[in-house]
């Protein structure tokens, strides 16, 4: 991986406002080549917003995002980026097979009005096998359970054969055995040089793979370093209302 020496994702000083409310304040986040970074934080801490800003789905009002060294606005190497959005379902208003949905992961590599290639088909087949849905290839995603639909979305991102995988809570609803399978799939990819940014509520079987944890709290980074008990407890114990924490000083205050 000679081209992957540049950091796949560098977000510096990123601020994001949604509906006029500041959701991220001056956030730094870097994913280095071959690194597995987990983004932790309570509900409403801004995890999803940060990854959505990093892949260009949410406009930023301050700071910069660079993907593989290219500013987000001019980034066009879409084949290097695999994305698993936060979804509860992979289904839409018309039936579609697992194979058809996962084939969408190849779009960055396909040309308009051209047929899919043998490489497209084999990448899709391999991705479906990797998430353990080989026997459901031709099933309609509408017929699958929630956890299976999550695995379809993961397979779609794997089919891109990207250098950076950005996954927003991909294991919600996926049972423990399948999480172990996914952890081993991601372990193999990271060993082969792929970088991963994972948003998670709990790490489960992924924990041994993780190089670094970034913890968000009400839109600010409060930890960036190795995963330890403190990080995990911090990411879980607090449930915030969305208002930044304030120090209340009794009396007349310190300023005259």
């Amino acid at each position: 991986m000679s081209t992957s020496e540049v950091d796949p994702l560098v977000a510096s000083g990123v601020s994001v406002a949604l509906d006029g409310r500041l959701v991220l304040h001056d956030v730094d986040l870097t994913v280095r080549a071959g690194e597995f970074v987990v983004l932790l934080g309570a509900n409403g801490s801004g995890k999803s917003t940060l990854v959505r800003a990093a892949v260009g789905l949410v406009p930023i009002i301050g700071g910069t995002v660079r993907l593989f060294g290219t500013p987000l606005a001019s980034f066009d190497e879409h084949t290097r980026l695999g994305y698993v959005p936060q979804r509860t379902s992979a289904a839409a208003g018309v039936p579609a097979t697992v194979q058809e949905v996962v084939m969408s992961g190849r779009l960055a590599r396909r040309h308009v009005f051209r047929r899919r290639t043998a490489a497209d088909l084999s990448a899709v087949e391999e991705a479906i096998d990797r998430v353990g849905l080989g026997d459901r290839r031709d099933s309609s995603v509408n017929e699958l359970s929630g956890g299976q639909q999550q695995r379809v979305l993961i397979a779609r991102a794997l089919a891109t054969e990207a250098d950076l995988l950005v996954m927003d809570e991909p294991t919600a609803g996926v049972d423990h055995d399948q999480q172990i399978t996914l952890a081993s799939v991601l372990g193999d990819l990271v060993a082969a040089g792929t970088s991963v940014l994972l948003v998670a509520h709990e790490l489960g079987p992924m924990q041994p793979l993780i190089d670094r944890a970034v913890v968000l709290d009400v839109g600010r980074v409060v930890h960036d370093g190795p995963v330890d008990e403190h990080t995990l407890s911090h990411a879980h114990s607090h449930q915030h209302t969305g208002a930044p924490p304030r120090t209340h000083v009794s009396g007349d205050g310190v300023w005259p």
Partner: protein
Amino acid sequence: MIDLLDYDFMRRALLAAVFTGLSAPAIGTYLVQRRLSLLGDGLGHVALTGVALGLLTGIAPLPTAVVVATLGALLIEFLRSRGRTSGDVALAMLFYGGIAGGVLLAGLAGESAAGLNKFLFGSITTVSNGDLVLVGVLGAVVVALSVGLRPQLFAVCQDEEHARVSGVPVWLLSSLISILAAITITLAMRTVGLLLVSALMVVPVAASQQVTRSFRATHLAAMGIGLAVALGGVVSSYEIETQPGPTIVILAITVFGVMAGVGAFLRRLRPQADPHLDMRRET
């Protein structure tokens, strides 16, 4: 039966039915996939303003309806992509504005509201040769783009955000879907009418997905059903002396009813439709 081909107007009517029957479900499948089944209905209302504008200015109503419905489609897509300022209410305004504008302009042109009936409910036997050329060319464009761009359009309608991250030009393709829908609606104006055209975009899709599992099969089967009911509707309306538009729509709904029954029967035969089969195997 054969004698119906002796009439020029019936030959034109059948040709118009072929193009409409194929193109309406071809683009309608994407609207259903996006859960925007009623968009066609709304565009039909807007197209009526275009028809009336044609009557008022003395230009043929078909081209003006294509232009106005396309502008309406772009406006709706703009409001939809913004996803705020209550797009629902904004759409409602556009729909009511469309039909009110149509009746108002038609009135100014000296046409009574009843005179708009042939546009609202279709009047396939009045298709002129000029209309037929426009319907044929635009219908072929709609079918070619709906089928040829299927991987891209499928991705945009299945998961817009994932498509955007994959570098698919989402705004361009979303607008294309809306524009193709607007064109199809205007083309179907002569066949089934502006108020019923949405049925030909949605009902064949709903019928075909009763028995299909893949998007590709749903898309192609919907076009087949659309073609069959459009032709069957025109022929039977001639035989039983009814209006073609409503006959086509009732036929389509009948096909839906039959397919729903067949689908329920097939699902009972297919045990692998159990979503938890894999879990059962593991335990």
